[in-house]
Assembly symmetry: C2
Homo-oligomer: 381 residues x 2
């Protein structure tokens, strides 16, 4: 009987410890029906709702009506999902492809504990295969908080070209606004990019150079070779990504079309790129036509994007560089300077590579070109 | 007997669940004697050590020899400590003043689980009282990884003027290099600042305007009034702070003396400020003399700081603005423009306040001046 009592006590002790671990030390909080601005310890939303009182965001509660799909769950993706959760987003659709799922499960469970008001939908598959790609398209189209409605935004936090191209293809076809993010192989630069199909350059119009350089993804996994990673760079990129999401969804501040981060110099270039009328993606070209028609049909209406728009007279690329990197700054950063056409500069530099390796075939998009071929093509356009 | 066996099974089940919770899903990993660049799943340092192979950091392992004191454990402080832990810092001394310690305990335990190679020393007290201030000074002086040696860096992640002034006073007295961080009350701007006593402006030489404005701290806690907070802004500020720490300790890239973050415009101003020869803090003035003498005694030696140094001929303030905010940009941001002397501009704007409230008396430093008085003083210097 003594043993039994001891065991019973031990069970209780362990159950309590487990509850503490799972619930942030105090047991998981109950769901909250309505976001309140009330300032008391039991209100987890008071400091977010303060944004409203301070005149930053008109209607912060609206955050709960939005669904964001996060593709990729590595250094940037996991921090991104946690930030969205802490901000009180309505629903997160997590899509990732990972074999060892234990840490990811733990992350998702952690997010659920952080904010039980957020809905989670989780898919573990490779979006670049035909079947999964179709399922991915379906979830973007119908996975919104109100089932049957599309998601509000797709975030790309993947680490490879194929997956980015798959997201790009899907979003062009669906006319789905998305944001792309990336961190360089040497971990000291990164970027985020807002892509509104038809309105701003898509990923196939002008892929960021770090990707255009076609660094063979397989080298990252080769024995003795792996990409560098810094929690700091990941945190900054996730932070500027989710900040851009909040500004876009809640309509405050200036949403960045492109924001780069060069950690070596603490340099943060911004720019905006018009879509390429000769983009390889036919759905991008179709979206461009539709956007033009829409704009032409509403000539007097004040559209936010029109206010933001910048006119470029001195290059055919429709590329506007709000801030430019000098040659010296570039040389001071790591990596060689690629040979670029006039009017294009790089957002950040890429690690020194002996040669540009041709990327493997992709399921959903053409990417068999080397950097030289891509550049030559762009020059001849 | 059946009950006993069931209980035993339940105990084992719970113990395993608890181990999973505490250890990121796989039980806590064993300590690692030496950082290895080897690329295999069991090596948590392979992607950090890749920074060395990629030519970014000469000697990444050196990170394990450093001790960093983190003061404050709120939105910025907790993320800062976690990032340092993930980066494999040698030792973290946590100093904070918080009544409800359960969440903080959970954070610290979490950090210990993330990286059991990191040493933690935790103090929960208010550094602005006389006794605690002395203890704080002692831990900065003798709390290094090798007991008896000073820490390598102090990070201020506090949310109030008094605590910042206490850290400033201590670091000026000890000649201790530190970095300050802050997020504005409206949560959409922040900054980090490197302070090398005698060499760059200390916190009393030219306190950041958000603090100089002497926003009454008590308003933050008043019923119905609280400062806004955004996980995104906190993450970006913590990210640029720890990135600056890595660059400073591991000697790569350009260490920023000041880096601001305006989230509304995605604007990141940098600047460097020389110390004020008339600084109120006598130890700051003493450190300035010592720095001058040191520099004069080593005229031929190439010092990194000399390379970075910028000569200012057109203002008496010794203030160099590497990038400037235009009036328009300021107006577009929130808050009114303070009346500033020539040659000084603000890094970010402050929320609209009816009047500048005089700060309460501090234990360790003078801060009874209003913004007007501070500005008048600066003008008359």
């Amino acid at each position: 009987m003594i043993i039994r009592r001891e065991l019973q006590l031990r069970v209780r002790e362990l159950e309590e410890a487990l509850a503490r671990e799972r619930g942030g030390g105090q047991g998981q909080r109950a769901r909250i029906e309505r976001m309140s601005p009330e300032v008391k310890d039991s209100n987890p939303y008071s400091r977010l709702m303060a944004l409203k009182r301070m005149g930053i965001v008109k209607d912060y509660e609206k955050i709960r009506t939005f669904t964001v799909a996060v593709v990729g769950v590595g250094g940037v993706g996991s921090v991104t999902a946690e930030m969205l959760t802490r901000c009180g987003i309505g629903k997160v659709i997590y899509i990732f492809f990972i074999k060892q799922k234990s840490n990811t499960d733990k992350n998702i469970e952690n997010d659920e504990n952080i904010n039980p008001d957020v809905q989670f939908e989780v898919h573990n598959y490779n979006i670049t295969t035909v079947d999964n790609f179709q399922h991915f398209m379906d979830r973007i189209s119908y996975g919104g908080l109100e089932e049957g409605k599309p998601v509000d935004l797709v975030l790309s936090c993947v680490d490879n070209f194929e997956a980015r191209m798959a997201i790009n293809t899907a979003c062009n076809e669906l006319g789905q606004t998305w944001m792309e993010s990336g961190v360089s192989e040497n971990a000291v630069s990164g970027h985020i990019q807002l892509i509104i199909p038809g309105e701003s350059a898509c990923f196939a119009c002008a892929p960021p150079l770090v990707v255009a350089a076609n660094i063979d993804e397989k080298t990252l996994k080769r024995e003795g070779v792996c990409a560098a990673s810094l929690p700091t760079t990941m945190g900054v990129v996730a932070g500027i990504l989710v900040q851009n999401v909040l500004k876009f969804l809640l309509n405050f501040g200036t949403v960045s079309y492109y924001l780069g981060y060069n950690a070596m110099q603490d340099f943060f270039p911004t720019m905006a790129m018009k879509p390429n009328p000769h983009c390889n993606d036919k759905n991008c070209r179709k979206q461009q036509e539709e956007y033009k028609e829409k704009k032409a049909a509403q000539p007097k209406q004040v559209v936010v994007e029109q206010e933001e728009e910048i006119v470029h007279e001195d290059n055919d690329w429709g590329i506007e560089l709000v801030s430019e990197v000098s040659e010296e700054e570039l040389k001071a950063a790591s990596g060689p300077l690629p040979d670029l056409p006039n009017g294009i500069t790089v957002a950040y530099t890429i690690p020194n590579k002996e040669e540009n390796v041709v990327a493997g075939e992709t399921t959903v998009a053409e990417s068999e070109e080397s950097l030289e071929e891509l550049m030559a093509k762009m020059k001849n356009m």
